[in-house]
């Protein structure tokens, strides 16, 4: 459904995308993770034909962005970053325009408006002016317009910003449902959302895809988390080259609060690693304040993967 090969794009001398490569099939919900400025929006703009690629091949729904712009645009639903909408319009008028422009009319159009209004929970708001809606509802309207023509490919740039937790759950379920029969690419920098919605995660950093793995695999890594008090540099140096584990994240808390380290076992079990950490601290007279199972945060993951590709960055 989406096929990107060797995609490169510069803004002036700044390299926004560097040989990006990924592939998505029907029935996949893929999360696109990365810090601001990593290239998420640039990639999305290329997929939606808002920008032309500089080099490389980009195919969406079987069509090449370089030659079949309109054919692609007919088959995608797109929610741009922070849901830009025509604020003067009423919700119904806006959805009507977005439907008509995609070739819906008559009964089919009104059915489609009713359908997406129900799905996105904006039935009550149809007669309201978009400018009067709260951020969360505007986001929903944005999603509704992206779904109105039941596109084969749904591309959502930061769909969760501005939503409250309840709204997030609703929208998440909607996206997951939609992804069963179609293809969904969503960008975010909230890891938990990506985890809950997507079956696959692409992490992008400085214009490169640094990892492309299933969400479950990424997040359920067995790891050990420890907070150690002692001389920071020594502790860090020690765990950096710990023989039983790989350091996947570390954080210096300040002079007296110690260091947090996040370790992934290599060639041993979690328990063995925990024991080894404990023993190491004891031997060097560092105090071990906390030792337990690690929770992966986006920061950790991110560090882990950017380090992997560190030399090039």
């Amino acid at each position: 459904m989406i096929h990107v090969e060797n995609l490169t794009k510069h803004y002036g001398s700044f390299r926004a995308l560097d040989s990006v490569h990924f592939h998505m099939d029907r029935g996949e919900v893929v999360g696109f993770l990365g810090p601001n400025g990593a290239g998420k929006t640039t990639t999305i703009k290329i997929l939606t034909c808002n920008l032309f690629p500089e080099s490389g091949t980009v195919k969406v729904a079987g069509f090449d962005v370089a030659t079949d712009e309109i054919e692609i645009q007919r088959r995608i639903g797109y929610l741009a970053e922070s849901a830009p909408l025509y604020r003067d319009m009423r919700v119904r008028e806006y959805l009507k325009f977005m439907g008509e422009v995609r070739g819906l009319s008559g009964a089919r159009l009104s059915e489609a408006i009713d359908r997406v209004a129900r799905q996105c929970g904006i039935v009550k708001y149809l007669p309201r002016s978009i400018g009067h809606l709260s951020k969360g509802y505007r986001q929903r309207v944005g999603l509704a317009q992206a779904l109105i023509h039941e596109p084969e490919v749904l591309i959502l740039d930061e769909p969760y910003t501005g939503l409250d937790p309840l709204q997030i759950i609703e929208i998440r379920n909607l996206i997951k449902d939609y992804g069963r029969e179609h293809t969904v690419l969503l960008s975010s920098h909230i890891l938990s959302e990506v985890e809950a919605t997507c079956n696959r995660v692409l992490i992008i950093h400085e214009g490169r895809i640094v990892t492309d793995e299933s969400a479950a695999l990424l997040l359920h890594q067995d790891s050990v988390f420890a907070r150690v008090i002692g001389p920071d540099p020594e502790i860090l140096a020690h765990f950096e080259h710990f023989d039983k584990a790989k350091l996947i994240g570390s954080h210096r808390l300040g002079t007296s609060d110690g260091v947090e380290v996040h370790l992934k076992p290599e060639g041993c079990t979690l328990d063995e690693l925990a024991m080894a950490v404990s023993a190491a601290c004891k031997a060097r007279d560092w105090s071990l304040l906390y030792l337990g199972p690690g929770t992966v945060t986006f920061e950790d993951l991110f560090l882990q993967f950017t380090r992997k590709s560190g030399t090039g960055a």
Binding site: Y11, K45, G62, I70, P84, V101, G103, E152, E181
Partner: protein, 309 residues
């Protein structure tokens, strides 16, 4: 455009070469002939083998993309843009101000002239349009860009020329509405004396032609700028310059007759007055049409170029 559409439909069949995709295509062409109302039953009748659940679903979704014609897209964009003018009070204020100025132009010395003529009305039109057009065109692209709706707009299956023409048509529509406001004046003049309708008709045609030229300049500059204010001022200056270079008060200071002739031909206003006198010359018509086309093409080129940045 429609030709291109039907051509680009072809890869769809080959790309997704498989039975379900073909079915989808059949149904979509079917849907096109039955006035957009795709009937899933009909699809199944065409298909000799029993269609499974998923296949029917696929056929339905494909029928959802009959691909509106360029004309249809143009109408949709035009409707949306036109409505946009009347959501806010801007259009009403512009039209109200225009109506006041027109009334002043018409009644000023109307009784003194003692003749059934609306000449001063049309003589003032280039300046009046110069004042209101930048206000109409300024937001067209600049606002889309500054609010981010441009990203959404350019992802829709509408080609850039169709978008640009839709916006231009909407702005021109407001100018037409402004001209409709002036209709009572010739009718009034007619009731008071014997009005020569030739120059009146010429005046309206000239106003529409000049209006199109102003609108296309304004839209192009709106696409070039990020804020509405910039767009409005630039339009005022550029369109104003093109207008004033052909005007007597400017040309009177020129000595070289060749330069004067050239500038008169280039000026947006000089041809206006000849059409408004009732002399419809094909060259004048062509002049306005080509100015309009030139700036619409520039507009499209700017939008297209931005996709490469």
């Amino acid at each position: 455009m429609t030709e291109k559409d039907s051509k680009s439909k072809a890869p769809e069949e080959t790309e997704e070469a498989g039975v379900p995709a073909k079915e989808g295509d059949v149904s979509s062409t079917e849907a096109g002939t039955v006035a957009g109302q795709a009937d899933p039953e009909a699809t199944m009748k065409i298909e000799p083998r029993p269609a499974g659940r998923i296949k029917v679903k696929k056929a339905e979704t494909a029928a959802h993309h009959p691909g509106p014609s360029a004309w249809r897209s143009f109408v949709v964009v035009w409707k949306k843009e036109s409505a946009g003018f009347f959501y806010s009070p801007v259009a009403y204020i512009i039209l109200g101000g225009f109506a006041l100025l027109v009334a002043w132009l018409f009644f000023d010395q109307f009784w003194l002239r003692n003749e059934a003529s609306v000449r001063p009305l049309f003589a003032g039109m280039p300046l009046l349009f110069l004042m209101i057009t930048p206000l109409l065109t300024m937001r067209s692209w600049a606002e889309e860009r500054s609010t981010g709706t441009a990203d959404q707009l350019f992802s829709l299956p509408v080609s850039l020329p169709v978008l640009a023409l839709g916006k231009a048509a909407a702005c021109l529509g407001v100018l037409l509405l402004a001209l409709v406001i002036t209709l009572p004046y010739p009718i009034m003049a007619e009731s008071m004396g014997n009005l020569d309708w030739g120059p009146v008709l010429g005046g309206y045609i000239a106003a529409i032609l000049l209006g199109s030229a102003y609108v296309s300049i304004g839209l192009f500059l709106s696409a070039m700028t990020r804020t509405q204010i910039e767009a409005a001022f630039l339009t005022f200056f550029v369109a104003g310059l093109l207008y004033f270079i052909g005007e007597p008060f400017f040309l009177d200071r020129m000595e070289n007759p060749q330069v004067v002739l050239m500038l008169t031909r280039l000026g947006l206003g000089s041809r206006f007055s000849s059409i408004a006198r009732g002399v419809l010359d094909l060259r004048d018509l062509l002049y306005y049409v080509s100015i309009t086309a030139f700036f619409v093409m520039l507009n499209v080129a700017v939008l297209r170029h931005r996709k490469w940045l």
